[in-house]
């Protein structure tokens, strides 16, 4: 395979700006897929991705294209996740490419995520090929958008192909740009093997399939390969590429190529994205740069609504983890919720996706606790503790210094909403850094924000205060000291561990009041009065009461028709399963969930 005929590239786009549709059109134009076999948006394999229009896991497809110069080219299209939670995966996918197609919506222009990913691509020395999509829309303004790309990103964009992926308009121009603008990969097939893992997934027949970009050397079936970060050695069973629908075992992969390796790998934990694959007998000197272990940022307790489903939940989490090494979980016991798991996620979206998959694919009814970040606590004796579960927060008397994780946030929005955004960020304890105009109507704001202020509902509120126009992106920036307190919720005098959380002192009172109100609304009247209290240490700072019920009776039983009473019994029995018994108080699942969404 001559390297100069290979083009490795990815597509960068904001959600809804048409990445998947363009990918489908490219597949179609290169006749990789028979049109009748095409499902909409082929590259996104998971239901949730399809419904939310988000690409979660990267995939790579090999395509053949005969260009206008009469030559045949091999395209490797590497799909990248679009969301900030998966930033590291994005960076590894980019490292597998020489170029990136930047898809910009002809009416909406550049968004925060696109910008972040484009900068990432430029950092990786990728050739960025801008494409203006959705020119069929009445509100399309390709000239303005091209000017914006030039101003904001600083790359020439006036000759960017104007396309409509939906209508299939001008797709050839994009394909020609890939040939002419994106450089061919470099690399020597004779050198020791050096290949970058940019994705992996678990296949129940072949074991873990790793997606690689071979940078140097050649990998062949029968070779012993070593994964350098973990040191694990495997014998290659298949090496090849993926066409639109299946894996094609090619026997080998050479420098410059993108493809997959199957080597009877049992655990996805061995195959870390970013790791380097080399030949065990003839290893390369040093691994590729940029590898790091991905650490979860957001933690939450996940419990089965029906305690008897604990085993099912464990099994489901284990299965999900087969395909998602960034999901972590360990058993946890709550007095209120019984047996469950403390789960770690890359971010909020990741958390929501996991919860949704557990409920949808594994049919589990869940109670989740409020998401928590990892706090860094220095004790008076000098010991440093990292706290991801409010229950474990040390006694304030023992704390010398508490720190919380901060993020650098970037928000892009029409300038009309600057006031609303500033108010929101202020309210979330943000530090304003700067603001710049991208053009006459759009601004980019930079804030430093505590991660714990954005893990609840920041993005939802931002959307609602900007009529959906603002986009948001963030990256971690480390820890800063903060005035933190642990807030406990008591029902009928007993602390409910699952409802405790850590909050900034200034937020403690309003949050305590809000939670008490929410609980009052969501705990049904019972046979006994239920006091709800919020407390810091021993001090009660908010109180509500669920009054005892006064009337709950079927007065009449006529002519021996007891069907209504039986129905009621059945309902009570069912309802009981969804209730948690805390002392004498019955708390429904909804009450636990209600405190997660305080602003709605």
């Amino acid at each position: 395979m001559a390297n100069e005929k290979i083009r490795n590239f990815c597509i960068i786009a904001h959600i809804d700006h048409g990445k998947s549709t363009l990918a489908d059109r490219i597949l179609e134009k290169t006749e990789t897929v028979a049109i009748r076999d095409m499902e909409d948006q082929l590259l996104d394999n998971m239901d949730i991705e399809r419904e939310r229009g988000i690409t979660i896991k990267a995939r790579a497809v090999r395509l053949k294209y005969t260009a206008q110069d009469g030559e045949d080219y091999i395209f490797n299209l590497i799909d990248t996740p679009g969301h900030v939670d998966f930033n590291y995966e994005v960076s590894r996918s980019l490292a597998a490419c020489e170029g990136a197609i930047l898809v910009v919506d002809a009416s909406q222009g550049i968004e925060a995520q696109t910008l972040a990913n484009t900068y990432l691509a430029i950092e990786h020395d990728l050739e960025v090929v801008p494409v203006v999509n959705k020119i069929d829309l009445p509100s399309a303004d390709p000239e303005r958008v091209c000017a914006e790309v030039e101003n904001v990103i600083g790359i020439p964009a006036m000759d960017a192909p104007r396309i409509s992926a939906k209508m299939g308009t001008n797709i050839e121009a994009v394909l020609e740009k890939i040939v002419t603008d994106i450089p061919a990969p470099k690399g020597d097939p004779e050198k020791p093997l050096k290949a970058l893992i940019f994705d992996s997934y678990y296949d129940s027949y072949k074991g873990v399939i790793i997606y690689v970009r071979v940078k140097e050397g050649t990998v062949r079936v029968g070779d012993n390969i070593r994964l350098m970060a973990t040191g694990a050695v495997f014998n290659v069973v298949e090496a090849g590429f993926m066409d639109a629908s299946s894996l094609v075992n090619n026997g080998s992969l050479e420098a410059g190529e993108v493809g997959y390796i199957a080597a009877s790998i049992k655990s996805i934990g061995d195959t870390r994205v970013g790791d380097t694959v080399t030949n065990d007998e003839c290893p390369c000197d040093e691994p590729l740069p940029g590898y790091r272990k991905v650490n979860p940022m957001v933690f939450s307790g996940i419990y089965p609504a029906d305690g008897a489903k604990y085993g099912d939940l464990r099994e489901a989490l284990e299965k999900l983890q087969l395909n998602d090494a960034s999901l972590s979980f360990e058993p946890e016991t709550s007095i209120a919720l019984g047996f469950g798991f403390r789960c770690g996620f890359l971010g909020l979206l990741h958390m929501e996706i996991i919860q949704e998959r557990l409920e949808r694919e594994y049919n589990l009814d869940l109670i989740t606790t409020a998401p928590s970040v990892i706090y860094k606590v220095t004790l008076t004796n000098g010991e440093i503790q990292y706290i991801d579960n409010p229950t474990n927060y040390p006694d304030p008397a023992l704390i010398q210094c508490a720190e919380e994780p901060m993020v650098k946030a970037s928000i892009l929005s029409p300038s009309d909403y600057v006031g609303n955004i500033m108010e929101l960020c202020q309210d979330r304890r943000g530090n304003f850094k700067d603001m710049k105009y991208l053009d006459d109507t759009r601004v980019e704001l930079h804030y430093e924000l505590p991660l714990n202020e954005i893990v609840y509902d920041f993005f939802d509120v931002l959307k609602s205060r900007t009529k959906g126009y603002a986009s948001f992106d963030y990256e971690m920036m480390g820890y800063l000291p903060s005035k933190l307190v642990k807030l406990d919720i008591l029902l009928n005098g007993d602390v409910v561990d699952a409802l405790s959380f850590i909050v900034h002192t200034d937020k403690a009172y309003p949050r305590a009041r809000k939670i008490a109100e929410k609980l009052k609304d969501n705990i049904p009247r019972q046979l006994f009065e239920v006091p709800i209290q919020a407390a810091i240490g021993g001090k009660i700072i908010a109180r509500e009461t669920v009054k005892a019920m006064r009337k709950d009776v079927l007065a009449k039983c006529y002519g021996g028709d007891i069907s209504r009473k039986k129905k009621l019994l059945e309902k009570q029995k069912e309802g009981k399963k969804r209730m948690r018994q805390l002392g004498t108080v019955e708390v429904p699942q909804e009450a636990f969930m209600s405190v997660l969404k305080l602003d709605s």
């Binding site: 009337k551 709950d552 007065a555 006529y558 028709d561 009570q572």
Partner: protein, 364 residues
């Protein structure tokens, strides 16, 4: 063989009350004839000559629309096809307007020995609001006429928690009722049923809230006690020895056979119901039935029904569930919802008010 109670559902009304969701249709003499024939056919069909029948209950609808002759034919048929006991309680639900002195004595002759009169209130404004066709005075006269005719077992219905009802209004109405020559009072908390005209009307807004409803109920229990009517079930009060034997069958899980459209039975080890269709009933050789439960009298059912009675349940009857129930006793007893003497468990009036929750808590 256990003795049996027979329930006859008479689905005819002169007019439909706006709060009522029981099955009934406008009556016509010909429909009444066809219906009576079908009842007689069914009694024959279920015939068990050896089996003692100790209660018959004509419920409705407005069973007093049946002629004394029709009623007599039915009672006679029961006597011919079953062993109707000498002291059998034979109840007829009656609308005060249908009870004339002549009719009353004919009813006695027909074998009816207990009347359940649908008075509901003895305040004219409340009667009007409820859409009842009688006045308070007419109702009182009907009761006095019945007593004078020789009825010595009379029950009256009283509705509580009516729109705009206050404890004072309730007391006026209830005391007037308790002063009549009657032996039994059924006092029901009004519940707007979906689909009734009442549930769609503005009156709903004037309904007492839970707090006031509870106060009205407890006031009723108090007034009844003051006048010698002891509570024996959530909604039923009687002078000693006049508890409705038929209705107690329901709470005590004793057999009853229901005949007529919308009638329910617990008979020969099954619960079943007849479809709410008068045409179908009258034209069928045997009433069609839908089985609703083929294994009745389980623990949950027995406990749920038994706890509606002031005598409650005896935990010695439920050895497997005793520990689980007893664990829940202290908190409920302390709150005043139940009485427990170590084996007998019963609800207090405060407990009856929230009996769904109390019973649910005890048995689950």
């Amino acid at each position: 063989m256990n003795d049996l109670g027979i329930y006859i559902h008479v689905p005819f009304c002169g007019r439909k009350c706006p709060y009522c969701d029981f099955y009934s249709i406008a009556f016509s003499p010909s429909a009444l004839n066809a219906y009576t024939e079908a009842v007689l056919r069914n009694i024959k069909h279920y015939s068990e000559p050896e089996r003692t029948v100790s209660t018959i209950y004509f419920g409705g609808g407005t069973p007093s629309l049946l002629t004394p002759e029709q009623l007599q034919n039915i009672v006679t048929s029961v006597r011919d096809n079953f062993a109707l006991s000498d002291g059998a309680e034979i109840t007829l639900e009656a609308n005060p307007n249908t009870l004339t002195p002549e009719k009353l004595s004919k009813l006695l002759d027909a074998g009816i020995n207990r009347l359940s009169i649908g008075i509901q209130s003895l305040l004219d404004d409340e009667l009007k609001m409820l859409g009842r066709a009688h006045t308070a005075e007419r109702a009182e006269k009907a009761v006095r006429d019945a007593a004078a005719a020789g009825f010595s077992n009379i029950s009256c219905d009283l509705m509580i928690a009516l729109p705009e009802q206050t404890p004072e209004k309730l007391r006026r109405s209830a005391e007037r009722l308790a002063a009549l020559p009657i032996q039994h009072i059924s006092a029901y908390i009004l519940k707007p049923e979906d689909g009734t005209p009442f549930a769609g009307s503005d009156l709903l807004k004037a309904l007492p809230d839970d707090e006031l409803s509870a106060a009205l109920y407890l006031e009723t229990v108090q007034i009844m006690a003051e006048h010698g009517f002891a509570q024996y079930e959530i909604s039923n009060f009687a002078r000693k020895g006049f508890e409705s034997r038929h209705n107690c069958r329901y709470w005590k899980c004793q057999d009853y056979l229901g005949i007529g459209p919308a009638a329910h039975s617990c008979y020969q080890g099954k619960r079943f119901a007849v479809p709410r269709d008068i045409e179908l009933f009258s034209s069928s050789a045997q009433q069609p039935v839908e089985i609703t439960d083929d294994a009745p009298y389980g623990f949950e059912e027995k406990a749920m029904l038994g706890l509606r009675l002031t005598e409650g349940i005896d935990l010695r009857d439920f050895p497997e569930h005793r520990d689980s129930i007893e664990r829940k006793v202290p908190a409920l007893a302390e709150a005043g919802y139940i009485n427990f003497d170590g084996s007998k468990l019963s609800l207090t009036p405060e407990g009856f008010l929230v009996s769904n929750a109390v019973i649910g808590q005890l048995i689950f």
